[in-house]
């Protein structure tokens, strides 16, 4: 073996230590976390429950599914959609000032740090906490759901808005400046056009997620399809559970499809 080759061999970075340590680390994490989890074993009823749910999905309660009255699945789905729509709109609007407050290229550093902390705090509070708090304001029902979704959306929407704001192309604003525009005109013609399509796309993306959250809020008593779901499950009325789950799945699939199409159109312009 040539001398140079031998020298290179010795120079080899000892990566295997890092790999070994990280694997051991992950393994120890797994062991630590599984320690506290008591595995009760699958409940005897567990398997039959799983089976029943599947049966319920395959042969749903058509009564509930096709029923167009106020207790039927379609109406509840509609209500859930309404909750998600209003919640998303409210969230999108409220997020705008928050987002500007957090953007380092628009406001001074201390404001943006403060803003980021506030938004982080808003984001961390679990959604059902908001739900319970708003129920005190509006009473139980769909309205509480709207407000909850509105506030919960702030977290993600603000984050995406901030990315859009920080990506702003300063040159366009500069050229408007040079042409003699006022601040309002600069915002209207320079900033808004760049941001608006992005904001709308963000809102639609969040709408999908909010729809899923809205279905769940019913568990808290905030309207939508969640409440009947949990009642049905607690009463072991699997056919109804099946009907509700099917309605849910169809809803989310349809919405996902439409929203992908719309967002693609927005992106292509």
């Amino acid at each position: 073996m040539k001398v140079e080759v031998k020298k290179q061999l010795e120079k080899e970075p000892k990566l295997w230590i890092v790999k070994l340590l990280s694997t051991l680390f992950v393994l120890s994490l797994i062991i630590w976390t599984s320690n506290s989890l008591e595995y009760h074993g699958i409940q005897e009823s567990g398997v039959s429950i799983a089976k029943n749910i599947l049966v319920g999905i395959v042969s749903p309660s058509t009564d509930l599914l096709i029923n167009f009255k106020i207790n039927g699945v379609p109406y509840l789905l509609l209500q859930t959609i309404a909750i998600a729509i209003l919640g998303t709109i409210i969230g999108s609007i409220i997020s705008v000032p928050f987002a500007f407050m957090c953007s380092a290229n628009v406001v001074p550093k201390w404001i943006s740090t403060l803003g980021t902390i506030i938004v982080a705090a808003i984001r961390t509070i679990p959604s059902f906490v908001y739900g319970l708090m708003f129920i005190r304001v509006t009473g139980p029902g769909a309205f509480a759901g709207v407000l909850t979704i509105g506030v919960v959306s702030i977290g993600m929407i603000t984050k995406l808005y901030i990315e859009a704001i920080e990506d702003l192309d300063k040159n366009i604003i500069e050229s408007l400046d040079v042409a003699g525009c006022t601040l309002v005109q600069k915002v209207r013609y320079g900033i808004l056009p760049q941001l608006s399509t992005n904001f709308v796309s963000t809102a639609i993306y969040r709408f999908e997620i909010n729809l899923k959250d809205a279905t769940v809020l019913g568990l808290v008593g905030a309207g939508g399809i969640g409440a009947p779901l949990i009642f049905a499950m607690n009463s072991y009325r699997w056919k109804e559970v099946g009907a509700i789950l099917i309605g849910l799945i169809i809803l989310v699939i349809v919405v996902e499809y439409c929203s992908t199409r719309i967002r693609a159109k927005l992106a292509r312009g």
Binding site: L29, I30, T33, S34, S36, L37, E38, Y39, H40, I42, Q43, G46, V47, I49, A50, Q79, I81, A82, I83, I85, L86, I89, A120, A121, R123, T124, I125, P126, S127, F128, V129, L132, M133, F134, R136, V137, T138, G139, G141, A142, F143, G145, V146, L147, K212, D213, T215, V216, L219, V220, G223, L229, I230, M233, L245, L248, I249, V252, I253, E256
Partner: protein
């Protein structure tokens, strides 16, 4: 009918040199009208009323102020459920991330040429992503009994759905050149995959797993509500008992934990690049 047409279709513009331009029909008014209709309908469906907000809004702020200052003495009691929450999301994220790999490989168009199998797997993954995590957790509590185990399962399933999608999208856009080179020098398809494709995907895979973990910690806090363990359970209890100072403490500690985890995660993900 004609007047309607005149209203909607803009007039032709005639330039000085005689050329005619027909501006297209503006879409914005239609969209705005449609939006307003939807908003009004939604408000009806949900009993939205500004009155209520103004009248009872103070209740919200009252609760908020009751949370501050938080009950510092309560901190000790929070640690155990908080630890449980972190453990749940950690284990769930790890299990979900690892199990996502075989699913993702089977869902990649350029690796799996068995069309029906591909579609089934993709459909299953979509299903898992569309069902809300809380509902999966709810069902899990029925099957596996209340407690953090059910929550872990729910998080694992949810993580699997997201990570698998991310992996197969990456696999489909990966550079197949090195794979071809490896086949040309005599490696089996499997070995070529392990040696040529995995190194390309690894960094973003790890990055995504870490991001999922971040998100899952916050999710895990919610899962407690359906009894799937973690901090959600007592949070719910204390709200019910209106012990808002304790609630404030729990939220504060949750907040600190999440901030630390997010910071660490950003740091590691930056290193992976």
């Amino acid at each position: 009918m004609d007047t309607l047409k005149n209203l909607i279709i803009p007039k032709k513009i005639i330039l000085n040199n005689g050329k005619e331009i027909q501006p297209p029909i503006p879409k914005l008014p239609f969209i705005l009208v449609g939006l307003i209709v939807i908003v009004i309908a939604s408000a009806e469906l949900t009993d939205f009323s500004f009155e209520k907000i103004i009248k009872n809004g103070h209740q919200f702020t009252a609760i908020l102020s009751a949370m501050i200052p938080p009950n510092w003495g309560y901190a000790k009691e929070v640690i155990k459920p908080l630890k449980e929450t972190i453990q749940m999301s950690l284990l769930g994220s790890i299990v979900g991330s690892i199990l996502a790999v075989p699913f993702a490989i089977l869902a990649s168009v350029n690796i799996n040429h068995n069309k029906p199998l591909l579609l089934i797997i993709r459909f299953l993954l979509s299903l898992v992503r569309t069902l809300p995590t809380l509902i999966i957790a709810l069902i899990a509590t029925f099957i596996f009994d209340l407690g953090p185990f059910a929550g872990t399962i729910a998080i694992a399933i949810f993580t699997l759905g997201i990570v698998a999608k991310m992996i197969y999208e990456k696999i489909e856009t990966v550079d197949m050149g090195p794979f071809e080179a490896l086949e040309a020098l005599g490696a089996t398809k499997l070995k070529a995959f392990l040696s040529a494709i995995i190194p390309q995907i690894l960094p973003s895979y790890l990055s995504n797993c870490l991001y999922c973990f971040e998100v899952n910690v916050r999710y895990a806090a919610i899962l407690g509500y359906v009894g799937a363990g973690g901090i959600g359970l007592i949070l719910n209890e204390k709200i019910g008992w209106r012990e808002y100072d304790k609630v404030g403490m729990m939220l504060f500690m949750l907040f600190v934990t999440v901030v630390i985890i997010e910071y660490l995660s950003k740091y590691i993900r930056g290193k992976l690049r």
